[in-house]
Subunit: 199 residues, 2 copies
């Protein structure tokens, strides 16, 4: 059971672990825990800085198909949204309708190929107005996950309430935490990750 599990973590700079001097991010930390739990895991980190849901959708199938070979227990973890909610010229880079449509398309593409998905919600940054927009996306994404029967891990509120997360974000580039912040995020996702891998 779980002898050859291949997981693509697909998303933005938070998935990539930007700001973490250990270069693990929350995805690497979850991967380490799975290995320690005895899962035969190969983890591919496909987080890319600045990417919105539209950018992720553009490369999702081609990059995952390179890595998720037939005959393996092939899975996907998806996480994005902060860049969608970034304002440029007074407008979000992707409007909430567009973000919702992109998520729905991503879930459809994964389902077509038989890849189970775990969704992880977007994180807060050091900008209350940005966070308010991200929180709205979080609500939408949670509803889309529920409707598709895909587990959705909410982290936004908990991280906003985490003095450690917010302190590291402010001490960093205003968006990304350091190693301790990624520890906090990984711990929030860990029980859901374990449950999902056990299915």
């Amino acid at each position: 059971m779980n002898a050859d599990v291949r997981v693509c973590f697909v998303g933005d700079s938070f998935v990539a672990g930007v700001g973490d001097p250990l270069l693990l991010g929350w995805a690497g930390r979850l991967g380490q825990r799975a290995i320690a739990d005895g899962v035969g895991l190969t983890a591919y980190n496909l987080g890319v800085r600045r990417q919105t849901s539209a950018d992720v959708l553009n490369r999702f199938v081609s990059e995952c198909e390179q890595r998720l070979l037939a005959g393996t227990d092939a899975r996907v973890v998806l996480s994005f949204g902060v860049n969608d909610a970034t304002h440029e010229n007074g407008q979000p880079r992707v409007d909430p309708e567009g973000s919702a449509t992109n998520l729905t398309k991503l879930l459809g593409a994964a389902a077509e190929r038989g890849w189970p998905v775990l969704l992880v919600g977007p994180c807060p940054v050091d900008d209350p107005e940005h966070n308010a927009r991200t929180a709205e996306l979080d609500e939408r994404f949670a509803a889309i996950g529920a409707a598709a029967d895909v587990p959705y891990v909410r982290v936004h509120e908990a991280l906003l309430a985490s003095a450690l997360w917010m302190r590291e974000v402010r001490a960093g580039d205003g968006a990304h935490p350091g190693a301790a912040g990624y520890d906090v995020l990984a711990e929030l996702v860990l029980p859901h990750w374990r449950e999902w891998l056990s299915r």
Copy 2:
């Protein structure tokens, strides 16, 4: 200087760090060292299991273009060859001429886009005949690197002589080491990596 360096590590399962319970591999270890040295590094690990030079060539430009944005110090580390030299039905998966051609095409594609390249040679596995074929590729690749004025880091002989590397490979799946083996490999590459980043 080196304020926004983005490096794609592109190659096979050794690049991906298969076998390492820390999920860092040699690429992650080099990345950590660069961060500790004060380099503003974003590292993208694009190692994929089972991939030959032909597979890497197929996805090289599309995956790197997603990550190596204009205005950054965008670079590529390439490493492959072990899977090229794997015999299937008595033939290598990619013959040496094909491997050489693929490497030349990869260097051309990187040069066209202004991405400096660091080449890291292929590793030994627990199979002397396979290693003999890989060692021949290593020679060819070194010559191609020299002709293109691209630094090429040879690791094959040193790892073959490393009792630690070979013991971990045998204790593992016959091809990949564990954490300590990747430490050894990272130390071999480290001075070249540092020199290359300082250019």
